[in-house]
Each structure stands twice: as C-alpha cells, then as structure tokens.
Symmetry: C2
Subunit: 221 residues, 2 copies
C-alpha cells in the first residue's frame, strides 16, 4: 500500500483547546485573564464538558492554571520562567541534535531548507513561530526521540507568546534567528555535531539576553 494515515476528525474538546491556545499565543487572552467555563461554552455554542477537557489539556501545556472550584486563569510567565524554559530547551535540543545528525537523510535536510524558504517570505509573527518549530522539528525528527520531541514542542509553544508579547520581531531578532537557521542547516549537512551544538546553544540564548537587556524598561514581573 503506501497511503498516508488518515487523520481522525478532531473532537470538540480538541478544537476548543486549539482555539483557546491560539488566542493565548496571539495575546487576545492575556495573563491573569479568568476563563469561565459557561462563558466559553456559550461562545462556541457547546456544553461545558468539552470546555473543561480543553482547559484541562491547556493546563498540562502550562498555558492555563486551574484552581479547584475557583476556575481557570491564563498563566503568567515571569522572566525567571522564560529563562528556565530556554535553559531546558538548550539541554534538550543539543541532546536531540546529537542523535539526529547521524540519522538525517538528504531528504530531511532538503525539507528543512524548503521550510527556511517559507520563513524568508513570512512576516506574520504567529505563523513565523509555527514555521520556526516546523524547521527545528524537521531537523530533530530523524533522531527518533518522540518523547523528547513532544516535550520540546510544549516548551516551544509556551515561550511563543513571549516572542509575541515582547515585540522581539521589531528588534532585528527574526533576521538574526533566520541567519542562524541557515548556519545550523549547513552544519547538519557537514555532519558537524559539535558545531551544531554550539550554534544551537547560541541560538537559544539569544532571546533571553535580548529580553534581559530590556528588563529595566519592560515591566517583566
């Protein structure tokens, strides 16, 4: 055969989770905003049940905090936590790239290059974050470390809203980041594991140092 696997139609809960996640990442729903179950249910014209399941999912993704009998709130990520997430990502992504590079086939690298082409012409910041992860995961996937990939993806979406919020896009960060992407791809082509690790570390240290510089100005509580 050789058909692709057909995707199951999404459950209502998943759709709601997707919509809420997008709203949180986009900034429509801001930190601290309470999320009332029946309100959301009315909004989407469904019952509370799938809404509760959606919130439950978002909770484990770290986007929402559920307090027993007191409702859900959009989580607030402090600078400390953003810093922590990037530290974790450095540890995990250097690990995964080490195992991925020896397994990367020309087709994998080609696909990654195509994604870079898409990023080049993209100027919507949300869509950019999506493509960014698509590129990274394309390089990582050959490692076969699926649990690790899932974990990193979660961290990725979690910091995405801060790139959004901090207007990092205006600071020339995107161009610099994309430049590093091309370098990373080149290092993968050369099977230069150590070089790739060093670059990744730099790549993932960028945002926090940018933000750290802005700390006094921005009210990063």
């Amino acid at each position: 055969m050789g058909f692709g696997t057909l995707k199951p139609p999404k459950t209502t809960a998943e759709q709601i989770a997707d919509a809420l996640r997008a709203a949180i990442l986009h900034g429509t729903l801001q930190s601290g905003q309470p999320l009332r179950q029946d309100e959301i249910a009315r909004e989407f014209d469904v019952s509370k049940i799938p809404v509760r399941e959606a919130l439950s999912r978002l909770e484990v993704e770290g986007l929402v905090e559920i307090r027993h009998n007191r409702g859900a709130v959009v989580t607030h990520l402090s600078f400390r936590e953003v810093d922590e997430i990037y530290a974790i990502r450095i540890a995990l992504e250097t690990l995964v790239i080490k195992r991925a590079i020896p397994a990367q086939m020309p087709a994998d690298l080609h696909q990654a290059q195509l994604i870079l082409g898409e990023i080049d012409v993209e100027n919507n910041l949300e869509r950019w974050a999506e493509l960014n992860w698509k590129f990274h995961s394309a390089l990582y996937r050959p490692s076969g470390m699926n649990i690790l990939l899932k974990t990193v993806e979660g961290l990725h979406t979690n910091v995405a809203r801060f790139l959004q919020l901090s207007q990092l896009g205006d600071l020339g960060y995107l161009a610099k980041s994309q430049d590093e992407h091309y370098q990373l791809l080149e290092l993968c082509r050369r099977k230069d594991v150590d070089g790739a690790c060093v670059l990744l570390q730099k790549h993932l240290s960028g945002p926090v140092s940018y933000l750290a510089d802005l700390m006094p100005i921005t009210d990063w509580t």
Copy 2:
C-alpha cells in the same frame, strides 16, 4: 510565615487518576489493557465525566493512550523509549543539579539525608520509587526550576513501572543505587558540581545498561 501551602481537597477526577496511575505503576493494569470508561465509573461508583478527565490527564503523563472514539489503552513502553527517557533525564537532571547545588542550604541536605534513612529500611518496591523521587527532588528543589522539576517528575513516574516490571530490585540494583545516593549527597555537601554531574550520569545510566544486558532473555518488545 513558614507554613506549608495547604492542599485543596482533591477533585474526583484527580482521585481516579491517582488510583489508575498507582494501578498502572504497580502492574495491576498492564500494557495494552483497554480502559473502559463506564466500567471504571462503576468500579469507583461515579459517572463517566471524572473518569474521562482522569484518563485525559494520564494521557499527557504518557501512561495512557486515548484513541478517538475507540477508548483508552495503557501505553506500552518499548526498550527504545525507556532508553530515551533516561537520556532525557540525564540531560535535565545534570542541568538542574548544577543550578541547585549553589542554592542548597544545610537544611535541604539534612532533609535529603533523612529520606535516605527511610529508603534504607524500605523494601516495598513501589514505596521505594516514591522515596527515590523524594530524595532526588529534595536535592533539586533549591534550584528554583519548577517547570523542570515537573517535567522530570513525569519522566520519573513513567519509568517507575519498568523498574517494577523488570524486577530490577532483585538484581542488587537497589543497593547500588542507594550507595550512589549517599555519594551524591556527599558531593552536594562539598559543592562539587562537576563531580555530582558525573555521578548522576552514571546513576542514570545504570538501569538501562542492566536492562540492555537482559535484553536477549526478556521479551522487551
């Protein structure tokens, strides 16, 4: 000041999740076993709603797989995945210990030592796994990296059932592990960051190499 935070009474869903998790870790519920909602609901004399939420939580913990409209199944962890989890743990736990050691106060180390004392006299394997994590997290917590701690805890519970399953306890592994615990504590006392990292790496490589040796014998699919 100095009170602990008081825990909210657990929701039904959480209690069910706890019960199911325990059953999975203990081996009562084995890999591949389907988990029917209404059956579980009858079992605990509740409705399906909290059961569904419990299963949903266990899914993100990686203990259960939910297939759309086809029910939940206890996940099956392959040797590859156990290996992967330990690789992730090495990356994360060496990171966290690096940041924890400088922040560890005498009280933290003392508490860790007390836990080791408990482990010494414990011979129930499930309880042992619990205490094991209690020890590790006591050393890690001063790092202040709460997201990381949550992540590692998840990985920890996920491999716990394999220690159970593989009867690693009978192989002198527990004694060796406990020996390394004492060494790790000592290194923390001396603020020997590099030494602690090396030891942790060794500590977390133990189980997989043990299992790898058994591979031909055991049916590790």
